[in-house]
């Protein structure tokens, strides 16, 4: 009973509710569209939505990394730039190893992928090093600086050019964005991969001692340090993992962008990662949030984009608009609710006191 009650009060429950309401609205609008002849057939059904989730799950891996950072009360705005730099090195390395070959070279691709992931982790390590060694500076400022640095590095490597690969080996990367057919359903490959990783992250963050320590750091890092937790070490590795996840996102991205690499390929994507994590209950204050919440928010963003785009046929930018509105409301709403509750409590107490005083006077 207690458990059910606390679940009903939880943020995850609210997100599910939000998702259900949104689906209902879209479903109704879809039926109306069909009935009035605006569209020929229904578009809002499970298999179709699922199939079109693909582009929205591209930054899901980055969100996983961002969650770690936010849980510690830090922020990393360089993740987009890390993704870009990793992908650019992927392109440059592959070009060097298999540039001329018509068929491409699988070995070269494997090597390039390894370098790409390594670069992501190294960039994260640089962030982690700076954040733990220069505690006087906010992580936001440090990662702002490293963001410009990584971005600049990408430009240094390939300038304003676009590297495009036509060989079939490299093109195989786009398989990552294929749809997996299971019976009637077509599932983007990124979703099962994401879910598998999300389960790992869930267990790590919410079931292990190490995950508890990450949240402890976000709640009060000084007290956590005095409790004998290796704060710096945990911080460092979380940044490394966030960098690594950016590189993973980057690999999915190359496949998506017709196998070409540019030095601004993932500019600004950190904002999507932050938005999904924040809607999922994480906060830059640290110490709270859950993997489940973040996963539901990714789905919410996907559904919103699909619904607004395909049913209400809003332009792409309207989708961004709704992301912004949802984001503000998701933080503002609980705050306002809390204020209202407090005001009610004071009113009740006041009435009580007035009654008591009146009784005393009489």
């Amino acid at each position: 009973m207690q458990k059910v009650k606390s679940f009903l009060k939880s943020w995850e429950f609210f997100l599910i509710l939000l998702l259900v309401v949104m689906c209902a609205v879209f479903k109704v609008a879809d039926s109306v569209n069909v009935a009035s002849g605006v569209s020929r057939k229904s578009v809002f059904y499970f298999a179709n939505v699922l199939r079109s989730m693909r582009p929205y799950f591209l930054y899901s891996f980055m969100t996983l990394g961002m969650m770690l950072i936010l849980a510690m009360g830090d922020i990393d705005i360089s993740v987009g730039a890390i993704g870009t730099l990793s992908v650019v090195t992927l392109g440059v390395v592959y070009n060097k190893l298999a540039g001329g070959a018509e068929e491409g070279s699988p070995m070269a691709l494997v090597a390039a992928l390894a370098v790409c992931l390594l670069v992501g982790a190294l960039c994260g390590a640089l962030n982690g090093f700076l954040v733990t060694r220069f505690k006087e500076l906010f992580p936001m400022i440090i990662t702002l600086a490293t963001q410009l640095f990584f971005r600049g590095f990408s430009y240094l490597l390939i300038g304003g050019e676009t590297l495009t690969f036509k060989d079939p080996t490299f093109k195989s990367l786009s398989n990552l964005n294929q749809l997996l057919k299971i019976g009637e359903l077509q599932i983007p490959i990124s979703i099962p991969i994401y879910l598998a990783l999300a389960v790992v992250f869930y267990i790590w963050l919410h079931q292990t001692g190490n995950g508890r320590k990450i949240f402890a750091i976000g709640t009060n890092s000084a007290a956590t340090y005095y409790s004998g937790v290796r704060v710096d070490r945990i911080k460092f590795w979380c940044f490394v993992i966030a960098g690594f996840m950016s590189a993973v996102t980057g690999i999915f991205f190359v496949g998506n962008s017709s196998s070409s690499v540019k030095a601004d390929i993932m500019d600004g994507y950190h904002m999507y990662a932050i938005a999904a994590a924040v809607l999922g209950g994480f906060s830059t204050d640290g110490g709270k949030g859950s993997v489940i919440g973040a996963t539901i928010s990714l789905v919410i963003f996907g559904v919103v984009k699909f619904g607004l785009g395909n049913i209400f046929s809003f332009p792409d930018s309207a989708v961004n608009l709704s992301v912004g509105v949802i984001l503000i409301l998701s933080v503002l709403g609980p705050n306002l609710l809390e204020d209202a509750q407090n005001r009610r409590k004071v009113r009740l107490r006041r009435a009580e006191t007035a009654k008591l005083n009146a009784a005393k006077a009489a």
Partner: protein, 499 residues
């Protein structure tokens, strides 16, 4: 009724916050040219009371009569304009702004709409000189010591020509000598006809300064007395609401082998050539003025900072490159001075706080075993008599004394052999103080070595088996026998040597 006797009367003040009634029908009055001390345990409502007077909070009931006229303090500015100035517990200054600006902010000298900086600096210098504070008006306040910051606050109060001055625990973080200076200034202001409301936990403040005393308890008014009518036990009784029979329950213990030894430990700018030992079953007091380097030494021992030279031996073994993690594994615990910032995760439950330092013990492999966790914290809650409904209660909702017990529980859960307590009773009410002393005595009798850093001389003298006194980064004196020791003996050793 001679209403003119008082410059300030506050009658039937009530203030309600969500969940608590912070003030319940309390009274207070103040004459010109007197120091009126307001005492009470933490949570008795003193700070809230002051904030209703200064206009930070609006009372939900009652009236404020200032110079015979009923007033409503709508905001702090109104209060300031009516001649009420406050010096708050935590020096409420702006560290990034200059001294002059801190003094005059809100009532700057202006030419037209623009601030007249040269005049402000000149006037600030005059004010500072008038209270013998040798500070530069252009220095940033963040670079001053806490004592100097308090002087800036006083200069600010003077600059507003305050008729009523409120001092909310002004001596809490001052050294003895700085406190003396503050007393002198307070007396001088009183003689000039300023009415001073002083809030303090320190009996020295009360008996050294007060003309009258008012006691609050549990948000209620208990009574007002002339200082000559009261003594310390009387006040304690009214503050706590019951008799405290034995404040310092010290047990005789068997002193065992040496557990912690520091040899010529030095850190540039903080302390130099520190030699200390702590043995099993012993309570060692470490005292001195604030800023003498006591906490800094112990932070280095616990591994928070690195000493530049010297050696640390723990249980006879030399320790290198110590970190808190490693020292805790070896059996050293530390209770930090600022329990809200360094001791507790306030938004976490008692259970999670206690288990944080010993998560390894509550795990099956990598996974947390919640059963073991609750078992451990439940045991600790019972052992230390932490007053809370369950171990799921948030530590932020506990009283200061109970919070301190949770921090102690955290350390004890790791089963230490030596435990460092940094100001264990700071900001803890009288009732909980006795409980914490009892825990210390029990631990010592179980064979733990305890090192207690404290500025409160009565507790240092009465609880310690041995006392080290530090001054300006060095150990100036060791008292091996605490019998018959007086506060003067210790103060003498703690005073910086004149050069």
């Amino acid at each position: 009724m001679p209403g003119s006797e008082y410059i300030l009367e506050m009658n039937g003040i009530t203030k309600i916050f969500p969940g608590v009634k912070a003030l319940d029908n309390v009274h207070f009055n103040l004459k010109a040219g007197e120091i009126h001390v307001l005492v009470g345990e933490n949570g008795a409502g003193k700070s809230t009371f002051i904030k209703t007077l200064t206009g930070v909070h609006q009372p939900d009931g009652g009236e404020i009569i200032l110079n015979g006229e009923k007033v409503v303090m709508t905001d702090p500015i109104t209060a300031q304009e009516r001649g009420i100035a406050a010096i708050y517990q935590h020096a409420a200054s702006y560290p990034d702004l200059s001294v002059a600006e801190n003094i005059f902010i809100g009532h700057e000298f202006k030419i037209g709409p623009f601030i007249d900086w040269p005049k402000m600096n000149r006037e600030a210098k005059k004010l500072l000189d008038s209270i013998d504070a040798n500070l530069s008006p252009t220095a940033s306040v963040g670079s001053l010591t806490v004592g100097q910051q308090q002087l800036v606050e006083i200069a600010k109060a003077l600059s507003m020509d305050a008729r009523i001055l409120i001092m909310d625990e002004p001596t809490a973080s001052l050294s003895q000598r700085e406190a003396e200076d503050l007393y002198t200034i307070a007396r001088r202001l009183r003689d000039k006809g300023v009415g001073i409301i002083l809030i303090s936990h320190r009996f020295e403040d009360i008996f050294g300064l007060a003309d009258r005393v008012t006691v609050f308890r549990d948000a209620q008014y208990i009574g007002t007395w002339q200082l000559s009518e009261v003594d310390q036990p009387f006040l304690v009784h009214h503050m706590v609401g019951r008799e405290i029979t034995q404040l310092f329950p010290k047990k005789q213990t068997q002193v065992g082998k040496e557990l912690l030894k520091l040899e010529n430990l030095s850190r540039t700018g903080f302390y130099r050539d520190i030699n200390m030992t702590v043995r099993a079953g012993e309570i060692v007091g470490l005292t001195g003025l604030v800023g003498a380097g006591r906490t800094e030494v112990m932070e280095s021992v616990f591994g928070v900072t690195k000493p530049d030279s010297g050696k640390i031996y723990f249980k006879g073994e030399e320790v290198h490159d110590q970190t808190p993690t490693q020292m805790m594994a070896r059996g050293l615990g530390m209770l930090p001075e600022n329990r809200q910032k360094e001791g507790l995760l306030l938004s976490w439950s008692i259970n999670h706080n206690i288990s944080l330092s010993v998560l390894d013990k509550c795990q099956n492999g990598m996974f947390i075993n919640r059963g073991k966790e609750y078992e451990l914290s439940g045991k600790m809650k019972e052992l230390l008599a932490i007053k809370a409904p369950t171990t799921d209660t948030h530590t932020g909702a506990l009283s200061g004394g109970n919070q301190q017990k949770v921090v102690v529980a955290k350390q004890l859960a790791a089963e230490p052999q030596v435990i460092i307590l940094d100001e264990p009773t700071k900001g803890v009410d009288v009732g909980s103080k006795a409980a914490i002393y009892e825990i210390m005595s029990d631990l010592a009798s179980q064979g733990l070595g305890i090192l207690m850093i404290s500025s409160e001389l009565p507790e240092v003298i009465n609880m310690s088996d041995r006392i080290y006194v530090m001054s300006e980064g060095k150990v100036t004196r060791e008292f091996t026998d605490t019998k018959g020791l007086t506060q003067d003996d210790i103060l003498h050793a703690a005073m910086p040597q004149k050069q």
